[in-house]
């Protein structure tokens, strides 16, 4: 079943490559059809999933390289299913919002569909070698997306991004090989490796975890491995920023949770260090975001800050914190997508990302004003938005583990409120008005879809919490709660 999900977008990409169309619209329609089909299929899979059932469901495995012990194994648990749904939704948004694209449309849609397929692969792989293949497979479409379609500094950004993440994944690969070597059975299957990894002595576990953490930390990103992010986000075309910050960053956090399952002793030993890194990321990203006058750079840095919440949640290693981390992964995916969508559309119209070049859009473009304000407020984690549920969970869990230190999270939120309100004050409140064509119907649909998801998850988070409860409970169980 999951095979279909993973390879459906590839079929779309191939179809797009051979489609004899001169104009961009038919290409867009085909890409839309496949993105919609993927989302529909993912939703159908979600209805088939039983939260209270087995740990890994819809599992299918086929020997890939018998000599090496690697398998083509796919399966989902609650956490990966949530990520799959997020991927499908944001890919759809990325295609939907590019309706007007003329230049390089064929390349763009192909690459987005390939990227979607690779992301599905990362989240559904149940074999570390397969995971690694898909992980690397996301790099190629992204490299070309940034390099071909990005802003003025795109080549440097693309190279920077590629080198950083490749450097990270080399460490990851070495760590995986170590693990493969150290674990008995010589198999890459996640279940086997987890069993082997748990039996390893603490020092070996720590060494392997360090390698994995560098790989995942670059992607997530965690201070000080975040150097690629601001440049890549700023230079990437907006729909790609949506995917980059909405889904790609979550791959790092997702991998970290999987690593936690495999190497519990290492996680327990480094718990406090992870929290320190999380707090530094939170403040570092927040303060640098506050410093930016460039809207896209501001959102990019705020992503670092928000992913700090995820890392903090994972570092608590208890049910509440992990729940908060996963919910924050979803919530940040949605809010960052909303923000990049709005900022990207503004850039499309004005060709400026500098806040000083903008005036109030309230009178001329009320839909812009609404979605900007909504996105920024949701990013602060206002009650009623999905981010609030996540931050609350992390706050509660963090307090039980580290006591008053979670005040730092509060400080980061406060700084977040400061820069968000500055942007809101400039764009969405009364002032010198600027002339701007409002969002079109398609664009409003994109924004509305994301806003609705944020609101629904904020007001009624029960379905998501129920979906991930079983898997989160299983991970937390490894750490005694």
């Amino acid at each position: 079943m999951l095979k279909v999900l993973v390879f459906l977008p590839v079929v779309g990409a191939v179809l797009l490559a051979v489609l004899p169309a001169r104009r961009a619209l038919p290409l867009w329609q085909v890409a839309m059809a496949f993105a919609l089909a993927s989302l529909g299929y993912a939703l159908w899979l979600a209805t088939r999933f039983e939260p209270a059932g087995a740990a890994v469901q819809m599992f299918e495995s086929r020997a890939w390289n018998v000599r090496l012990g690697s398998y083509f194994a796919l399966g989902v648990d609650g956490i990966s299913l949530a990520m799959v749904l997020l991927t499908a939704l944001l890919s759809l948004i990325a295609v939907l919002v590019s309706r007007r694209m003329e230049q390089g449309a064929r390349l763009y849609f192909m690459l987005v569909l390939l990227l979607e397929s690779a992301m599905f692969g990362v989240f559904t792989a149940r074999d570390w070698s397969l995971f690694y293949v898909f992980w690397e497979a996301t790099l190629l479409p992204l490299f070309f997306l940034i390099d071909r379609l990005g802003g003025p500094n795109r080549q440097r950004a693309a190279l920077n991004f590629f080198l950083y993440t490749l450097g990270g994944s080399v460490f990851m690969l070495v760590a995986l090989l170590f693990l493969y070597d150290a674990a008995p059975g010589h198999s890459f299957a996640m279940a086997d490796m987890a069993e082997g990894g748990r039996g390893l002595p603490l020092n070996t576990q720590l060494l392997i975890f360090a390698g994995l953490f560098i790989g995942f930390g670059v992607k997530m990103p965690v201070f000080p491995l975040h150097g690629w992010l601001p440049l890549a986000h700023v230079e990437a075309p907006s729909p790609v920023s949506i995917l980059l910050s909405g889904v790609l960053l979550k791959m790092g956090a997702y991998g970290l949770i999987r690593a936690a399952e495999t190497l519990p002793a290492a996680l327990l030993a480094t718990q406090d260090w992870l929290a320190i890194l999380a707090f530094i990321s939170l403040l570092y990203g927040g303060i640098l975001a506050w410093r930016q006058q460039d809207l896209k750079a501001m959102v990019a840095y705020s992503s670092i800050s928000h992913m700090g919440v995820v890392l903090l949640g994972i570092a608590t290693l208890n049910v509440t914190g992990l729940t908060g981390a996963v919910v924050q992964m979803v919530a940040h995916g949605l809010t960052a997508a909303t923000l990049f969508l709005v900022v990207g559309l503004l850039y499309q119209r004005t060709h400026s990302r500098d806040l000083a070049d903008y005036g109030s859009v309230l009178g001329k473009a009320p839909r812009f004003a609404f979605f900007t304000a909504f996105g920024l407020l949701a990013a602060i984690g206002l009650p009623g938005s999905a981010g609030f549920i996540a931050e609350l969970h992390v706050l509660v869990a963090g307090y039980t583990r580290w006591g008053g230190w979670v005040l730092l999270l509060g400080v980061a939120m406060l700084v977040g409120a400061a820069y968000s309100l500055r942007a809101i004050g400039r764009l969405c409140l009364k002032g010198e008005t600027m002339d701007l064509p409002d969002m079109t119907r398609t664009e409003t649909l994109c924004g509305g879809l994301l806003a609705a998801c944020i609101l629904v998850l904020g007001l009624w988070p029960a379905p998501l919490l129920e979906l991930i409860a079983g898997s989160v409970g299983r991970v937390a169980g490894l750490f005694g709660g």
Partner: protein
């Protein structure tokens, strides 16, 4: 049928809920602009009176049940909120005390609403008046029927707010709004006592339920005294006993029906009710009871003397009321609670009639009011004291208002000169960096944030692979140079040969 009757006490929440519902409906009508002109008046009045009548009928039915089968007592209808060892509930107390007072109040409320419909015809604030009055009815019934202190406190506050709204009914007159504020603030002083009592009750008695008060004997006398004093302050403030008496004479600014129900008949007795409710606690602390007697007696003297020299009918009535209420406090202080309750009911019924009649008093009697008695006229000191109402207003002004005002001035100055600068003010920020005019910061936190962000930006540029000439780039360059040299050396035949030989050695 009998099963239905037995469930009747569980519907007691409707008594305060019905007027609240009417408040919501009438409020919505006013907000939507549906209530304007003569045509809208009957509906407002009828809805209010229907709600009051509904409450009365329900209470009468419960009374009948109580007479047949005994009073239902404490009823817990639902959980409100709570953590750990204490809990706030929706509970109601249906004992003879509550039922008596509740029924009487419902009757008075209904009659007053009926009376007001004509009295306020074509007044500008007709709907506002009925909204505030219904709100008051809901509040006072909550006070009387609540089964726990917290719910009673909610009602207590609702009474305070509606009293404030009705004293300030003629809001365009500065005197009215000033008096409304004065009454409200004095009452807030009492509320502080109520809250203190509630907090102590939660700590020492483990809950807010009135039933928990029967365990008062378990706690020490010192604790009990502190707990009771909180409630006594609240009761003295609400019933305008000394030293809180000054507000009541200024509270008559509102329309007569509201004065009648608030200060003539119902709200002024709320303090007495509270004392009656807390009787199990009171009897533990005779010294506080003695205090009640003293406060009551002093108030009685005050009200009697002032009442003798009043020249307008409402003021004369309010001092008469105050005198009777102070007698009730004396009775409670002496332990005669049943007498106090009977006195209360009779007094309320009599006084409401007098107050409602007050506007037509001149037309009915046509006589001049009797002059103060001769002994008072001849004793200049006493006469002046009575005329000046013991200078309570002035005293409270010099002792409370003026110090508070000057204190607030000082605090404001402190804030303007130091705190505002330290915290920072919106719109006052200075740009952190010349090329980013929108990134502004002010105050101490702002400056700290700006400084930290400077440092972080420095780190970001210097250490990460971004800026030109950064440390990482320099290191890379140096490493690259070494590698180039190495490569260059390796390209020379002698080293190449050496490398090949070395490889062979290793392999062999």
């Amino acid at each position: 049928m009998s099963a239905l009757l037995n469930h009747l006490p569980n519907w007691v929440w409707l008594v305060p809920a019905l007027p609240l519902l009417v408040v919501v409906i009438n409020g919505a009508r006013v907000l939507l602009g549906l209530a304007s002109g003569d045509a809208a008046e009957p509906l407002t009045a009828r809805l209010s009176s229907l709600a009051a009548f509904g409450g009365l009928v329900l209470l009468l039915a419960i009374d009948g049940l109580a007479l047949l089968h005994g009073a239902p007592g404490h009823r817990r209808l639902g959980h409100w909120f709570g953590t750990g060892n204490w809990e706030a509930t929706f509970s109601f107390m249906l004992d003879p005390l509550s039922l008596t007072m509740g029924t009487l109040t419902a009757l008075i409320g209904w009659l007053v609403i009926r009376f007001s419909a004509n009295y306020l015809h074509r007044e500008a604030g007709f709907h506002r008046f009925f909204i505030a009055l219904s709100f008051f009815l809901a509040g006072i019934q909550l006070v009387l029927l609540a089964g726990n202190g917290l719910l009673a406190f909610v009602g207590w506050e609702m009474c305070g707010v509606s009293s404030f709204l009705l004293i300030g009914y003629a809001w365009h007159r500065p005197v009215a709004t000033g008096n409304a504020l004065f009454a409200f603030i004095t009452n807030r002083g009492g509320d502080a006592g109520f809250l203190l009592g509630l907090g102590l009750a939660a700590t020492w008695l483990g809950g807010f339920e009135w039933t928990a008060l029967s365990q008062a004997s378990k706690i020490s006398v010192v604790n009990d005294r502190l707990l009771v004093i909180g409630f006594v302050i609240a009761a003295l403030a609400k019933s305008a006993q000394l030293p809180f008496s000054a507000w009541i004479s200024r509270a008559l600014e509102g329309p007569t029906p509201s004065s009648a129900i608030f200060y003539g008949a119902v709200m002024i007795h709320a303090g007495v009710y509270l004392m009656l409710r807390l009787e199990p606690l009171l009897v533990q602390v005779p010294d506080v009871m003695f205090g009640l007697v003293v406060a009551g007696l002093l108030t009685a003297i005050y009200a009697w003397l002032c009442g003798l020299v009043q020249t307008d009918v409402k003021s004369a009535l309010i001092f008469a009321t105050l005198f009777q209420v102070s007698l009730m406090f004396v009775a409670i202080g002496l332990g005669w609670t049943t007498l106090a309750l009977v006195h209360l009911c009779l007094h309320a019924a009599w006084r409401i009639w007098q107050f409602l009649l007050a506007p037509s008093w001149l037309a009915i009697t046509r006589d001049r009011p009797p002059p103060p008695p001769a002994w008072l006229r001849h004793n200049q000191l006493l006469y002046t004291i009575a005329l000046q109402r013991f200078w309570l207003d002035k005293l409270s002004h010099t002792l409370l208002v003026e110090p508070t005002e000057s204190f607030s001035r000082d605090v404001r100055a402190l804030e303007e000169h130091f705190i505002d600068h330290a915290i920072g003010q919106p719109g006052q920020g200075k740009a952190v960096h010349a090329d980013r005019p929108l990134v502004v910061a002010d105050g101490l936190p702002g400056r700290v944030l700006a400084a930290v962000s400077d440092v972080l930006q420095h780190i970001e540029y210097r250490l990460l692979l971004r800026g030109k000439g950064g440390m990482a780039e320099k290191l890379m360059h140096r490493a690259g140079a070494y590698l180039r040299t190495l490569e260059h050396l390796l390209e020379q035949p002698r080293y190449l040969m050496m490398a090949v030989m070395a490889t062979f050695v290793v392999i062999l």
